[in-house]
């Protein structure tokens, strides 16, 4: 069995359970891929080869004895180096002195209980404070689909690792879009669950109000399996949600969300809408009150919360930060308490506005990112006739749902004329991540024809 033909976590899992491939073989293949490609892609900061092979050997023994722990048993996965993994430093992509945890973060511990094999810790935008993964102490993450492009961020290494076949599931974090943005940039699936649903303990915080933990995978079904493993260590295939049946009612939020899109995003998003309508689903425009205020609300929450956490390190080792990240953290020290509280009040209003927009709908449907993967190092990008700051345009369509806490998932919808992926985003009702996954499975099936062919796939 050649592992280069394995395109998804589910497929790898099925082969393991049927014992057509061993966990050791699968893990060796992933480690070989990392060995061959990581110097170029810089997807991983720490590779845990010895421990991964030992865990894989144990998984093989258990599976052979009929003691399967579920779909993740023996499957190689990665963890963003913002989460604690016992015995490895948590660098957060920085030269700042790392944490050296004795315990796994809860979501990591649950992945282990589900039998997953952790192959290593992935690179990221330093302290998760950016969307391009090019401000990191470990070298800019390169997009496997075009090495001159960003893999997105902040979970850029996680996305690159999935699309390049270095692992079959990845743990990411998302404070303004840091799972969905790299998923969109690399052509994979990224799920941000409902706020608080997956534990953020053992995760270096960016903003305790806005931080989310979630899975990144090749497909929606894979994301569901990872989600269950991270939720309660129970990732049985039987638990997989079924694609939503019957006609869906989806709402496209306008204005604001469709105002600044590159031509390929517009074209592919329109194609998705047409495909879904031809499939019998109903799509209507909806309004989210005050949505245009989102960036102002967002910065007044994320900046002071990030600066508060980093204050001791900014004092003791300021030169260990990347210059841009340090400046953004320093900026947060000037936000007044009055304006932070004003933003928190606005957050409750925005949350109700999204709740209202979702009334009677299965989900909101919008693009996940307004552009394709930007060139590495770019600070601005052309969008139509305008020049936009890269960071702001990448965050534009995702950050509201961190502010409000609604679950959201990015799904690839095909390549642009530049050959780079574009992605849609589905946003569900708060507390209903499983229902969102059902809707996402149905939408994914519709727009890919069931074979996942629009996605980047794995290498």
């Amino acid at each position: 069995m050649t592992t280069t033909k394995i395109n998804s976590l589910r497929e790898a899992s099925d082969l393991l359970q049927r014992r057509e491939i061993s966990a050791v073989e699968l893990t060796k293949a992933c480690l070989a891929r990392i060995d061959a490609r990581n110097a170029e892609l810089r997807a991983f900061i720490t590779v845990m080869a010895d421990q991964a092979l030992a865990d894989a050997a144990r998984a093989d023994k258990d599976i052979a004895r009929g003691r399967s722990l579920g779909a993740l048993h023996g499957v190689p996965v990665s963890v963003k180096d913002l989460l604690d993994v016992a015995g490895t430093p948590t660098t957060a992509g920085s030269h700042v002195t790392p944490r050296r945890p004795r315990h796994d973060a809860p979501v990591v511990a649950k992945l282990r209980r589900a039998g997953a094999v952790i192959v290593g810790k992935t690179n990221l935008h330093e302290f998760a404070f950016g969307t391009t993964s090019d401000e990191t102490a470990f070298g800019a993450v390169r997009n496997p689909l075009d090495l001159s492009r960003s893999a997105g961020g902040s979970s850029g290494g996680a996305a690159a690792a999935i699309v390049d076949g270095m692992c079959y599931g990845a743990v990411g974090t998302d404070t303004g879009g840091s799972i969905r943005i790299p998923a969109a940039a690399c052509g994979i699936t990224g799920l941000k669950p409902t706020s608080g649903e997956l534990s953020a303990d053992g995760v270096v915080p960016l903003s305790t109000t806005l931080d989310h933990v979630g899975p990144m995978t090749a497909t929606v079904a894979d994301a569901a399996l990872m989600f269950y493993a991270m939720l309660d260590a129970d990732a049985r295939v039987e638990r997989l949600p079924r694609p939503a049946e019957g006609a869906l009612w989806l709402g496209v939020p306008v204005p604001y969300f469709l105002d600044k899109l590159d031509t390929d995003v517009t074209r592919l998003f329109d194609r998705v809408k047409t495909t879904l309508e031809r499939g019998g689903h109903t799509i209507s425009d909806v309004a989210i009150a005050h949505a245009e205020r989102t960036p102002d609300v967002y910065v007044h929450i994320v900046l002071p919360e990030a600066s508060w956490y980093h204050a001791p390190m900014l004092r003791d080792q300021p030169d260990n930060y990347s210059p841009g990240v340090r400046l953004r953290l320093e900026m947060g020290r000037y936000v007044l308490a009055e304006d932070y509280l004003r933003a928190m009040q606005a957050r409750t209003v925005l949350r109700r506005a999204v709740d209202r927009a979702l009334e009677g709908l299965d989900a909101l449907l919008l693009p996940a990112m307004a552009i394709g993967a930007p060139p590495l190092g770019a600070s601005t990008v052309r969008v139509g006739a305008d020049t936009e700051p890269v960071r702001a345009i990448m965050l534009r369509l995702t950050q509201l749902f961190n502010v409000t806490g609604h679950p959201a998932i990015a799904i690839p919808c095909g390549p642009g004329a530049d050959g780079l992926p574009r992605a849609i985003q589905l946003v569900g009702h708060r507390g209903s991540t499983e229902r969102l996954l059902e809707v996402a499975l149905a939408v994914e099936r519709q727009i890919t024809g069931g074979d996942g062919s629009v996605g980047g796939g794995t290498g």
């Binding site: 009150a289 005050h290 205020r293 960036p295 102002d296 609300v297 910065v299 007044h300 900046l303 210059p323 400046l327 953004r328 320093e330 900026m331 000037y334 936000v335 007044l336 304006d339 004003r342 933003a343 009040q345 606005a346 209003v349």
Partner: protein
């Protein structure tokens, strides 16, 4: 403190701390602060109740 006064204080402090590169970021933050404050009527305030006579 209004946004212009806040900005003047913040830039002076950043300069004193050897961080002049903060100036354009603080200017952008001042614009964002003003925009957020201008939206007070949209987002409401706990001291303002729907049944207040003056609303």
């Amino acid at each position: 403190m209004d946004a212009p006064a806040w900005l003047a204080h913040a830039i002076a402090d950043a300069d004193a701390r050897g961080l002049p590169a903060l100036k354009p970021l603080l200017e952008a933050l001042a614009r964002s602060m003003q925009a957020l404050r201008d939206a007070d009527a949209e987002f409401g305030h706990p001291c303002r109740h729907d049944d207040d006579e003056d609303q």
